[in-house]
Symmetry: C2
Amino acid sequence: MKEWSRKVYLELPRPCEEDHRSMQKRLLAALRDCGSFCAGNEPKSELVRDETDIRIRPEVLNSCLEVCEQADWQVTASLGFDGRIWEMLDLEPGDTTAQHYGLCADLGSTTIVMELINLNTGETLASESVFNPQIAYGDDILTRIFYTKDHPERRRELQEATAKGFRKLMERLSEKTGVDTGKCNILTVAGNTTMIHFLLGLDAFGVFQSPYAVQTLEPEVCRGAELGIPIQGFVYICPAMENYLGGDIISGMLATGLPDREEISVFLDVGTNGELVVGNREFLLAGAGAAGPALEGGSVRTGMRAENGAVDRVTTEHGQLKAHVIGGTEAKGICGSGIVDLLAELYLNGWIDLRGRFQVTETEIEESAGGGEKGQSRIPGLTKQLLRDAASEKDTEYAIEYAPGLYFYQSDIDEFIRTKAAAMTMVEYMMNLIGLTMEDVGCFYVAGAFGTHIDKESAVTIGMYPDMDRDKIISPGNTSLKGAKKLLLDRSLKEKAETIIERMQYVQFGAVEEFIELMRAAQAIPHTDLQRFPSVSARLEQRRKSDPKTDPKTDPKT
Amino acid sequence: MKEWSRKVYLELPRPCEEDHRSMQKRLLAALRDCGSFCAGNEPKSELVRDETDIRIRPEVLNSCLEVCEQADWQVTASLGFDGRIWEMLDLEPGDTTAQHYGLCADLGSTTIVMELINLNTGETLASESVFNPQIAYGDDILTRIFYTKDHPERRRELQEATAKGFRKLMERLSEKTGVDTGKCNILTVAGNTTMIHFLLGLDAFGVFQSPYAVQTLEPEVCRGAELGIPIQGFVYICPAMENYLGGDIISGMLATGLPDREEISVFLDVGTNGELVVGNREFLLAGAGAAGPALEGGSVRTGMRAENGAVDRVTTEHGQLKAHVIGGTEAKGICGSGIVDLLAELYLNGWIDLRGRFQVTETEIEESAGGGEKGQSRIPGLTKQLLRDAASEKDTEYAIEYAPGLYFYQSDIDEFIRTKAAAMTMVEYMMNLIGLTMEDVGCFYVAGAFGTHIDKESAVTIGMYPDMDRDKIISPGNTSLKGAKKLLLDRSLKEKAETIIERMQYVQFGAVEEFIELMRAAQAIPHTDLQRFPSVSARLEQRRKSDPKTDPKTDPKT
């Protein structure tokens, strides 16, 4: 275990006739004498040189004499590692080694989360999140990238917006804890490749444009000041493997420990994109695909983030859908976990078939087609709704009212099924590549807020998760942040991250014929091959028994 | 020979499906492939690691894509060495390796001199000098130091004043040559310890105050930007040995090569202070003392810098002093070389004795005491002059009119003799220490403007230089600047400078009894022991023959 940050209490010898070394020499000698830096006086190897080579810039040296005189030459030095050597970043009067803090952050395209960590204990003192101020330049990443394209000066705007987010988080953490976050010697950041490019003020067009050559995957350790982040020390950014396989995923590897274990695990991160890693200590396969924002409610008409007013749980009670709303307020829309529940319920109630089509009879269609009002369908809440921006009244679609005045459309369902199929096909394709099935998998990680909030049973029911031992399905939460925290506490994980990247093999999805075929088969609820989901069959059976009317095997159209 | 700065022409492979490395990786791979960086692919030793470890900061990476696309991927990278590793500082379109420049400077307390060097050829393209803008805060160093004492914020003023001087020099060099000096990857600076402290914004009080613990003697390599010096690269400051033995002297060692030679040499730098090094490749003794500004005309009533209007040469023609004025204008004062000539002439003419006293008879005193007007002295131009700020008319002194209306006072002579004695006693004391005489000395270097302008014969006559083979008395000019240039061209001299500092032994002058005794003996023209100056005896003899009236051995007072 190696640190990024050190605080060292020093009782400096006062200058006198016999010892009139310069302040710089006096400090360096005292720092090198400290146990933590000592590995023999003579630097013997490269490593030892790194440990004993300490820089003190004039700017910092400037105040040292005053601090020493004020504090009777009993002072505490703050040191940060710049990626190659140590630098003394601050000198404080007295012994302040007990106040030793660092920051870690997950830089997401929607949200930036930051934690203040006690570096002496590893304890998280506080956590804060803000919406990424980049959103002002576009809700989705591509809009932001296009905003900067051919306008190099706009990269600065994106950079400054990102820095603003970090500053806000630092302020809030300071307010919450009373800790001066500006005194941190280190901030570790994990984020996807585009986010990191924006943080560094770089052109991110290469992330999306063939031949996908980006500006950097392993950026240099920067000074906070260089990036407009007011910490006195350095910013370490978790390296990325590929344009679509960012530092957030590598950080997730560190968080879960997947690359070190004997058992094979699957790591799936579903956000703006879907990223997948399958492997163990022997091999690591990784891939990314357009798992898309649909899963988080992004491209669904009434989709919204999991915040107050969002339907996050849907159940069926007495043959009627029942929505749970975050914050207990009036429902304003539906978030990812709500959608998964809704689809599971629709399917289990026999209201949609395995293709996701609403199960209405011709008569019902005729009757409800009349005026867009609540029809006579046997499915409570199903109506035909005019599409927004419809050219004529013919542009209607079946939609289910999941909460008062809120409709989930047929095309919303279709979109969601396509997306979940894409995500699941990545997993399946990769398992096929290595000749294994889900039964060989030790852990199935579903990272991110999505995995945290979703109901496992519902997710299995709609075929978003494989039908496996539920204990093996793990929602590790924000693994990007958790990995960043691990990196913060142990600098040697920097090399580990680099090794993971070297070991990883990138698997290209999409254009392969097999992939397309697998994907087509997966575009069903839960899957065209129901035998792969025995527990779903059992639930269906159970639901049918309790309410014999709803039998998805009865397809009224055929 | 190692460089501080490199320009490398690269023909980069374009990104394509098969090669979509990041810009950073692409550049680094190309740079490492270059012969100059290549020492095997694997970094085997620390040294090699330094050579192959190259940093590219996001700020620089930012413009690379545009430059590459504009230049058909044929570009020139500029690299600077930060003291530990290389950093890519700029990328230019096309092949610009022919334009490769660096800067070196001597940061003097009165004058800053800077040269623009073609790093491909080592040629000096232009040289410029400005008065050090610090002068606004005090003519002498101590005033400036006291200005900042107890006012830490004033250090910033001194720092900014110094940076302003550097910026002015860069602008002038750019104007003169058409070279964009901002594109320099390196500037080397040599200066005394106080000057370096001011350049870095540091408290310099320790230079003069017991126990003489300064802030730094070996400052870190800085970015130009950190110091307000607008070069894209780094500033390397020649390290110092002691508070009074600054980087200017170490730089002088590199310039003269004294520490490498078999023969023993003496290096004397006379400026605000007097610094001395005696040694060869076996040993190096160094010391510093209050040789003082008197030698440069500083504490002489009509003393001035060697500029237009200054008397810089004095001869005797037809029994009368004759002054040469720089610029051929009316005389405004006298500079160091003029003073040395004047004293030599006064002595050779028998107008002052070996103690420097004007040779006037009692009668002459009585007569001239009357009204401060030109007296009846046998010494042309000698009068009694009222002292400035005199309390009464009794405060008069003998003074010689060396140019119309300009007087050199008895107390000016006394001051000058004390100062030259101090300088020469340092040399003598050190030679005694090692048990050698000037006959064992290969070269006697007198560095600085003082040594350059002074007439060797006059200097020997007044005992300022030892009476030795004139060819061995060398005026190497501004060795601080010359050493800085050497450092600029060869980075390995950084280690050499550090070795010189390690080898050097500092000799304390002043309080030692022997030193005081030697100094007393040296307070004469040329010396109380005239036998040590046989050539001066010969000149006296010759002068007496040509004008029998002037015989210094005839002391009218005795």
